[in-house]
């Protein structure tokens, strides 16, 4: 899923300072799972903003709504009845959601309330870790199911650099060396010989180097 973290409250306050009627929009998908921008976080942020304005003796009207999926125009359309009654939208979805709202409602400013971080997986309650860079040409089939693009700090394709220490990355002892993990996994699978196959220089076009990506499925479009 796409992970996100709430922005510092002061940054959000600055965005909305000129406005008094706010539509605060959450999303029921990824940001709900990573507890950054679901219904619960919408409620908490609304309370925090109310409190801040109260302290400053200002009035603010916040309408809270959480859409099923903010990156989908069908659901974003649900905001249409409210949009004319507000000065600005604050979105708690990932960058995809923010932009879907901005594309639909041209005259109303929309501000992000979260920082979108990465495509990751849940490791344990409250812990998420990056697992995919969306490179567009998945190599997991030859790297034992561990991604060198997302999990090696230098996204090396042909083995660990010289900086590995006690099996951890030179960038931080908290980061596992991806190539140590790949090697251990290949050994477990009895596929050690795969390590010595040269991985060719990557074509980065599908992952963004070719310009912003678009997928068109003729059978569905």
């Amino acid at each position: 899923m796409i992970t996100a973290e709430q922005k510092p409250i002061q940054e959000i306050i600055q965005y909305i300072a000129p406005y008094s009627k706010i539509l605060l929009v959450g999303c029921n998908e990824c940001v709900t799972v990573c507890a950054a921008g679901g219904r619960k976080e919408v409620g908490l942020l609304a309370s925090a903003l109310h409190l801040n304005h109260l302290k400053q003796g200002k009035n603010i009207d916040i309408r809270e709504i959480t859409l099923e999926r903010q990156c989908d125009p069908e659901y974003v359309e649900e905001l249409a009845p409210y949009i004319d009654g507000v000065d600005a939208v604050v979105s708690m979805a990932c960058g995809c959601g923010v932009q879907t709202i901005a594309a639909r409602f041209k005259k109303t400013p929309v501000f992000p309330a979260v920082n979108t971080r990465f495509m990751g997986a849940s490791l344990s309650q409250g812990v998420w870790s990056e697992r995919c860079k969306g490179c567009g040409d998945c190599v997991l089939g030859i790297t034992g199911g561990i991604c060198p693009v997302a999990r090696c700090s230098k996204h090396l394709f042909n083995g660990p650099c010289g900086g590995t220490s006690n099996g951890q990355c030179e960038v931080s002892p908290d980061i596992d060396c991806a190539w140590r993990l790949i090697w251990e996994r290949l050994k477990e699978l009895g596929m050690e010989s795969r390590y010595e196959e040269l991985m060719e220089a990557k074509d980065w076009r599908p992952g963004g180097a070719g310009g912003p990506g678009t997928i068109i499925r003729e059978d569905l479009a």
Binding site: L156, G162, C177, E184, A201, K202
Partner: protein, 307 residues
């Protein structure tokens, strides 16, 4: 001969090769390069020029290499995949070779986190193994990495690094094998302080016959002080400093530690000369270039062969 590289000629002659290195300055002072290179000139077969080492901005390795080349010496330019994509690498190689630079080293590079621009985006378009293959294809097939023909190919003698001390140890010979498969000509190793472990790695190298396919230059760094040894043990990624090394330096008064460090470096060279597959030494005297001639002489590696 694949190239006009002096290092290639020395290695082909069967003599033990000697290289050293010179870190370019953090500013526009060409004399800092030429002064350092002048200290090394009669005692080495090639001078590595580091490429933004430890991710600190410095004069570019290619440019500093040109300054050294213009002194009539033999630079070995280092190139890290951290700072350049494949277009920038190849254009730099064309430029370097146009100035007569014919020897280079392909590296991944320290992560930007270690340097003075930790906020920078690392490039890592290709890795060091892919870089070796790219440079070899430029030399032997006159082709750019993208497949187009080169009009006047660069004939580079291709080096890479190996760290026998990083984890996982069992992968380290295989990693070298990959670099050999990609077309590397010579290897300069990480600084060797744990000689037993290095010899164990070399045994793995020889057992696979890799010593017949690549020249290995053993990395030697003289310790200036016990403080430097402790720092390298604790702070430098991928470094293996046995406690014996620290104890030995601790055992002599501070003012005698530099001399002891040099003695240890010379002893290491003497021991490693006996190791099958070691074809030379890469002496990295960090900000201590003036001691390199002394080490080379004491280790019986002077004079350098005329090739």
């Amino acid at each position: 001969m694949k190239t006009d590289s002096r290092l290639e000629k020395v290695l082909a002659s069967g003599e033990l090769a000697v290289t050293s290195e010179c870190g370019p300055p953090r500013g526009c002072r060409p004399e800092k390069v030429t002064e350092k290179a002048a200290l090394l000139k009669d005692h080495v077969d090639g001078i590595n020029v580091t490429d933004n080492q430890t991710a600190m901005v410095r004069m570019s390795s290619c440019t500093a290499g040109i300054l050294i080349k213009q002194m009539g010496l033999d630079p070995i330019i280092q190139m890290v995949s951290r700072d350049r994509n494949r277009l920038a690498m190849q254009s730099e190689i064309l430029g370097a070779y146009s100035f007569g630079i014919n020897t280079m080293l392909c590296l991944s590079g320290d992560h930007a986190k270690f340097g003075d621009h930790p906020m920078a985006q690392g490039v890592f378009d290709i890795d060091s193994v892919q870089m070796i293959k790219m440079v070899q294809q430029m030399r032997d097939k006159s082709l750019f990495q993208g497949g187009a023909k080169i009009d006047g190919p660069p004939k580079m003698f291709i080096g890479a690094a190996a760290n026998p001390f990083a984890d996982p140890f069992e992968l380290r010979v295989m990693r070298l094998a990959k670099k050999v498969k990609a077309g590397v000509d010579f290897i300069q190793t990480q600084c060797i302080f744990n000689l037993d472990k290095f010899e164990e790695w070399m045994k793995g190298v020889v057992d696979r016959g890799l010593d017949e396919q690549v020249h290995i230059l053993a990395g030697i760094t003289p310790m200036k002080s016990v403080g430097m040894a402790r720092y390298m043990k604790n702070k430098v990624p991928g470094m293996d400093i046995p406690d014996d090394v620290i104890k030995r330096l601790e055992g002599v008064p501070k003012e005698q530690q530099p001399e002891e460090g040099i003695k240890m470096a010379v002893e290491a060279i003497e021991r490693l000369k006996q190791v099958k597959g070691v074809h030379g030494f890469h002496i990295m005297a960090i900000e201590w270039e003036e001691k390199v001639p002394q080490i080379v002489e004491k280790a019986g590696l002077y004079p350098r062969p005329k090739v």
